[in-house]
Each structure stands twice: as C-alpha cells, then as structure tokens.
Amino acid sequence: MFEYFYKYGSPRHFYDLSKMFVPWLGGICLILLIAGLTGGLFFAPPDYQQGESFRIIYVHVPSAWMSLFIYVVMASAGAISLVWKVKVADALARASAPLGASFTFLALATGSLWGKPMWGTWWVWDARLTSELILLFLYLGYMALQTAIDDRRTAARAGAILSLVGVVNIPIIHYSVEWWHTLHQGPTITKLDAPSIHPSMLVPLLIMAFAFMFYYAAVVLLRARYEILENERNSAWVYELTEQRKG
C-alpha cells in the first residue's frame, strides 16, 4: 500500500496528475460561483431584520469557513511532511498559506463592513474577532518564515512546526462564541441543532461554500505545481520537461 502511495505521491506523478484536475475543479468552481451569487443576490429574500445587508453572508461565512479549513489542511500537510517526508505535502502547505491568508482577510474585511451599520462599530476586541485576527497573523508569519529561510527544506520544516503550534487556535475560533460572551453571534449552521436560517437563504450559502472549496482546490493545485517545479529544479525529470518545452 505504501509503495502505491509513494509512487503516486511522488512530485513527478503529482505534477502530471494535478494538471488534469485543475481545469475541472476551476470549471466546477465557476458554475457554482455563478449559481451561488445569483441565488444569494437575486433569489434569496431579504432578512427580516437586516434587510438587504445580510447578503454579505454569502462571502463572509464561506471565507471564514475556508480560513479555518485551509489552516487545518496546512497543518496536516506540515505534520505529514515532518513525519513521512512527503515532498508533495511540503508543496501543498506552502501553496496553501497565501490562499488561507486571503480568505482570512476577506472574512475580517466583510465582517467589518457589515459590523459598522449593524453593530455600530467596525471592530471590537471580542474573542471571535481577535482569534480570527491571530489566524491572519499565523498565516502571515508562516509566509514570512518561508521567504526568510533560503533553504526550502529547512523552511518547510520550520513552517510545519509553526503551523502545528498555531493549530490550537482553530477550535478557539470555532468555539469562541460559545465559550465566552462575544459581540459576534453564535453559530447558525455549524451546530448540532437544525440551522437557524431559512432554507431559501441557506441553499445559496451552501453553494457558495462549495464554490469557495473548489476555488481553493483548483488554485492550491496550480500553486503546488509551481512549488514542485521550484523544489525539484535540479532533478532529471524537470530538466527533461524544460528540454521538451524548448523543443
């Protein structure tokens, strides 16, 4: 089983295989994005309290979910790379960080834009907002570490340890609204009870969440391919590949 895993988990096979997946993932993302946005912006009814302003949920909530999900992917890839020295895991972790940082920023920015009219303030230092800001700093710290260390294997190891140290923040972000009094509201969907959102508003939200997921999958593979080329630039297969391209 491990032989099979090592064969298809090798950078070269990953490079060839991922090429096939990217257009499909990107295409599905585009379809879902169009469906989710038209559903969210045109078909979903306005909220009984917030009116039209609630529609920012269709960007804010999927971004926030992705910011957590990508961090878990990054930390798991870090652990795999530390223990089993899988090179593809290094590339995936490194490729994930800027995407995770972007989604975190998007969640914070959209939340702030919504917070001003609804709460009456752009920003408060409650547990949810503060822990999400720490997540942004973790991503930025990881990226800074990657650029600060020239040797890519050392950088990958240092980054993996940093991402594992930061993983404790993920449950804190998720449960912050339940553990402490926060200005941020409690979970609407990610709880054991039935979602407290009307199905006509929930369906576009879930479509948007899947769209963001496919976006991440497509872009992380694309980025990981470049990371692999860079990591393997001295290997025979990359040399052959560039020779072929030159014709």
Binding site: P45, P46, D47, Y48, Q49, Q50, G51, S53, F54, I57, A79, L82, V83, W84, P117, M118, W119, G120, T121, V124, D126, A127, I161, L164, V165, V167, V168, I172, W180, H181, T182, L183, Q185, G186, P187, T188, S196, I197, H198, S200, M201
Partner: protein, 153 residues
C-alpha cells in the same frame, strides 16, 4: 513504522497537545478578561467593576425605550430575564437597536445604579429568515425582536 518516524510522530503529537494544554491553562487564567460583557445579573451580584468602565449586555425591555425629542438622549432598560438595569445614552444608535433586541453597552455604573453608556452596540442573533416568515411566526405567537425596522420594497 520505523523508530525515527515514530519519534517524529510523537513529537508532532507532543507539540499539538502541549500547545493545547498551555493555551487552555492560559485562557482559564484570563477567563474574566475574555468576557466581552457582563450580564445584568452579574452586575446585580457585584461582579462588575465600579471604578472603571465596562460593558454590559442584555435584551432591551419591550416598551422601556424613551427618547428625548430635543436631543439624541435615550433611556432604556436592559434585562437578562433575571435582573434589570436602567441605561442612559446620548448618541446615535445602531441599525439593529430595537426593543427585544440584544445589545452591548459600554459605560460606567453610576452610584444610583443606572448605567451611563458612551457606546451602544447591537448584538445580532444567529437567526436569518425572510420578513414573511417572521410575520407568520409572530402571528403564531413566537416571540421575535420587533421587525418593523425593515420594510421590503
């Protein structure tokens, strides 16, 4: 699994578990500082500071809001259904401020027991629904915050 990998795996588990325990202890120690607001019951029990400003959170009691027509001054009562506290405020209220709504006020407790707020924030709850559904629920006798603020075009 070879011994080297086992050792590495154990150190990964150690990092995550160690950070988890350390953070849990730190958060436990700072528990009081992490509360974004006090509830009226905590204020009544004397848990809130008297010398410095703090935040108080609760529901605006129905029919308790009285505005001064000459200025922005407003008075209302906050409740956590157990205790009540009177709040005075002079300023612009957020969109979501209404009777029955959860709000967070930042200010100071005066000697007479009223809370003098310099900032009022609305706390939104986790419920999202179309106005028609809210109307239907209200007719069925389900208690919802006053939705008169938003009228569909």
């Amino acid at each position: 699994m070879n011994p080297r990998r086992r050792k590495l795996l154990l150190s990964v588990i150690f990092i995550v578990a160690g950070m988890g325990i350390a953070t849990a202890l730190a958060l436990k120690a700072f528990q009081a500082n992490l509360l974004y607001f006090y509830s009226p019951m905590q204020v009544a029990a004397g848990e809130a500071p008297t010398a410095r400003p703090f935040r108080i959170g609760g529901l605006v009691v129905e029919g308790s809001v009285s505005r001064n027509p000459e200025s922005l001054a407003v008075k209302f009562t906050l409740t956590d259904t157990l205790e009540e506290i009177n709040v005075t405020y002079d300023g612009i209220l957020p969109d979501l401020f209404r009777e029955g709504q959860g709000i967070v006020a930042n200010g100071q407790l005066l000697p007479d027991g009223t809370f003098d707020a310099f900032e009022v924030l609305a706390k939104h709850d986790e419920n999202y629904m179309p106005p028609e559904v809210a109307d239907a629920l209200a007719k069925a006798g389900v208690k919802l915050p006053d939705s008169s603020h938003y009228t569909p075009p």
